[in-house]
Symmetry: C2
Subunit: 130 residues, 2 copies
């Protein structure tokens, strides 16, 4: 599709939705939901691997050698829980677990694209402040 049919408010980023009028960060805010899904180191890189195709645990380990087993396991559980991945354990030996991107997970593509686009147009960087 080339264009979304959801109602576009006059000012981008300011949807006229009741959930937008929040006095504090709340998990029910859609923006927070997305940031929570992407939360954590390595998470976006893991999603990026899945945008190329599905993987098993070992394949991911090869693709991201600096990522420890524990954190990889955490990320996969987190993303599965968020409805971004589905887990499929293949019977037999050796045990192999296959992870696949759900349609909802694949729809993260444009989101990552938006993040990439903005980050590519950075003006002047100020290294301090962290």
């Amino acid at each position: 599709m080339t264009h979304q049919t959801v109602s576009h408010p006059a000012r981008p980023g300011l949807p006229d939705d009741p959930r937008a009028n929040v006095p504090a960060p709340t998990p029910s805010c859609p923006v927070e939901i997305t940031l929570a899904a992407l939360h954590g180191r390595w998470t976006t890189l893991v999603i990026r691997e899945f945008l190329k195709g599905d993987h098993t645990f070992s394949e991911l380990r090869e693709a991201l050698p600096d990522l420890s087993d524990k954190v990889l396991s955490d990320r996969l559980a987190h993303l599965t829980n968020a409805g971004i991945l589905t887990r499929h354990r293949e019977p037999g030996w050796p045990p192999r677990v296959h992870y696949t991107l759900t349609p909802h997970g694949r729809s993260l593509g444009p989101v990552l694209q938006a993040l990439w686009d903005w980050g590519s147009t950075a003006p002047t960087r100020h290294p301090e402040d962290g």
Copy 2:
């Protein structure tokens, strides 16, 4: 603008840019740059206030009563440092500091919109896992 003129790769979220082939999370990745800009609790809500218009320190305190002075100060410094806000100290008394969104900061609108849109289409939520 209604439409971006940057080259769109065949698969969204998978730009054919050398910076995309990273073996580990690195600050030079545009996605990481954007996530770093939005990083921290309250950050997106502060940006949201500025999408409505510029504010002083006190006005922000009124708009976000549950946000402590220290964290507000941290966020403003962070966003100023990231080129999203500009700081203007008005002479005279009482001291007032005016913060304004830069063009680069205003261009975060579509990014927040993308985050909102994806978070609005969440399928089934699994409360566990945090």
